[in-house]
């Protein structure tokens, strides 16, 4: 476990002080909103969904930050909440419409093609479509490693999975993506 950074420690001090709680929480949102949104958006693709989930993530953080133990990094704790919210959202989506995994992937691919808030050249879009072929848990690990440059140890802390399992998952994901890109 790593101790929180000085910046996070100051944020937490402000949040835990009743007089500066709102100000401190506002600083936390400003500090982490882009990382949380980016992480969520890559999982759910649609901006409106990502917006809703990001708000929920910060509301949950607000509710439970009093219980946050400072023996872990604040951002890994935040990532864990965001990751769980994404996975729960996708799980609910499948349950609500009785959709198999492939159909949710197709729905997200369709959003990728039609959303006004998606840009990028053909190869970038193809990479995203390849990612949507992966199981959700493997995709979230890939995103954290590839896009967010988190270490396996950090991802292990966020997901509660062993480093060895994460390495295997990532390399397997890369293999599947490269196979898809070659087609």
């Amino acid at each position: 476990m790593t101790a929180p950074s000085l910046e996070d420690h100051e944020l937490l001090s402000k949040i835990k002080n009743p007089e500066t709680r709102n100000y401190g929480f506002n600083l936390l949102v400003r500090a982490y909103q882009q990382r949380v949104y980016g992480h969520v958006r890559k999982m759910v693709i649609d901006h409106e969904d990502a917006d809703d989930i990001t708000q929920e993530v910060f509301i949950k953080i607000h509710k439970s930050i009093e219980n946050f133990r400072e023996d872990s990094l604040l951002y890994t704790w935040i990532y864990r909440i965001a990751t769980n919210e994404c996975l729960n959202f996708l799980q609910r989506k499948k349950r609500r419409f009785f959709l198999p995994i492939g159909d949710v992937g197709r729905e997200l691919t369709s959003k990728l093609d039609n959303s006004p808030h998606v840009s990028g050249d053909e190869i970038q879009l193809k990479l995203q479509k390849a990612l949507l072929k992966l199981p959700d848990k493997q995709r979230v690990v890939f995103n954290m490693k590839y896009y967010d440059d988190l270490s396996y140890e950090e991802i292990a802390e966020i997901t509660g999975t062993s480093v060895g399992a994460l390495k295997a998952s990532y390399h397997h994901a890369v293999k599947k993506i490269e196979d898809y890109l070659t087609q």
């Binding site: 709102n22 929480f25 506002n26 949102v29 400003r30 909103q33 882009q34 949104y37 980016g38 958006r41 890559k42 693709i45 901006h47 917006d51 990001t54 708000q55 910060f58 509301i59 607000h62 808030h117 998606v118 840009s119 990028g120 190869i123 970038q124 879009l125 990479l127 995203q128 590839y146 896009y147 890369v174 993506i177 490269e178 196979d179 890109l181 070659t182």
Partner: protein, 134 residues
């Protein structure tokens, strides 16, 4: 085979203008609204359980301290023996008409009297005739 490392990392997801400027305010508003929403159930709980409990206590206090009601005329009459009543009516100066004026008979009373007369046997009728010196 196309390698992943050949593809430049690029953020393809865009957000509406000013999205991150507005988001902290939106979140703060939702937290404030959430607090208000939690405040209402507390008030509702007070209404839901407090008022009925208070009503039960008030009713119990009223019943506990309620004075014994004064005996009504009917309850006094039922406690007097029929023979005493008949003896009183024989000796009093009140006429039958005056007694009837005091009594208000409704439909139910009339039906009960009619049933009682219908059920009278011959012996009962003779006893009444004797009493009335008919």
């Amino acid at each position: 085979m196309k390698k992943l490392e050949d593809i430049p990392k690029k953020e393809i997801f865009k957000v509406p203008d000013d999205y991150f400027d507005k988001l902290p305010g939106v979140i703060q508003s939702r937290i404030a609204a959430d607090k208000d929403r939690h405040a209402i159930p507390v008030f509702r709980t007070v209404l839901q359980y407090g008022i009925p409990s208070l009503a039960v206590v008030v009713i119990a206090v009223i019943l506990f301290f309620k004075p014994e009601p004064a005996d009504s005329a009917e309850s006094i009459l039922t406690s007097i023996e029929t023979q005493d009543l008949v003896a009183y009516l024989d000796e009093t100066d009140i006429s039958t008409d005056e007694l009837l004026d005091e009594v208000t008979l409704d439909q139910l009373d009339a039906e009960q009297i009619e049933d009682a007369v219908f059920d009278l046997g011959d012996q009962d009728l003779e006893d009444i005739a004797d009493d009335l010196d008919l």
